[in-house]
């Protein structure tokens, strides 16, 4: 069964460093998302991406965050200068069409120290 894959599964980084989280969405999907989940809390929307541009972003997704689809398969989330409060599990997700199920990857656990 096709799945969303994410790398790395876990990353520890120093505060102020740049981090890039990578995702390979399901191949025929057109909508891409990043969500995050702070330990013990609910899954929070960060950004949606469609047709090579951001379609919506949340208040969390400030100027320190950016997304890119550099080629036909990868979808990346960059955090330019990490803060302690960026420590969370980051989930990539994709869907085939606007009304279809959204499938999530297993997540990248980011720890900022």
């Amino acid at each position: 069964e096709p799945e969303v894959t994410q790398t790395p599964s876990h990353q520890v980084t120093q505060m102020g460093q740049e981090v890039i989280l990578r995702c390979v969405p399901i191949s025929n999907h057109l909508y891409f998302y990043w969500y995050r989940q702070i330990l013990g809390q609910k899954v929070e929307f960060l950004v949606s991406f469609y047709n090579n541009e951001i379609s919506e972003k949340s208040e969390i997704f400030d100027d320190q965050f950016s997304v890119e689809r550099p080629d036909g398969s990868n979808f990346t989330l960059k955090i330019r200068s990490t803060k302690l409060e960026d420590s969370a599990m980051y989930f990539c997700a994709s869907r085939q069409g606007a009304g279809n199920t959204i499938y999530f990857g297993e997540g990248s656990w980011l720890t900022v120290v």
Partner: protein, 113 residues
Amino acid sequence: GESVGLHLPTLSVQEGDNSIINCAYSNSASDYFIWYKQESGKGPQFIIDIRSNMDKRQGQRVTVLLNKTVKHLSLQIAATQPGDSAVYFCAENIMEYGNKLVFGAGTILRVKS
């Protein structure tokens, strides 16, 4: 506003009993709803979905009920098994917000053997 909330943060059931997990949503523009199961350290796993033009949908051992009048969603799990122990999230798809999913707070389901 856009908010999805859950009535019961923790639900404990005996193995073999039926479980009912409830969810309230507030956005009348939501057109699609999904229940996800999340096990510790893993990504949200799709369980079942329902569109706003339906009031009931059944899967294998699971049933989702949608009451648009009171903006209520429930997940019924028949013959609950220890492997069902997880956090369950409802999520609503909001077309007017770029087709993003908004997650509820989550309910912990504990199955006692």
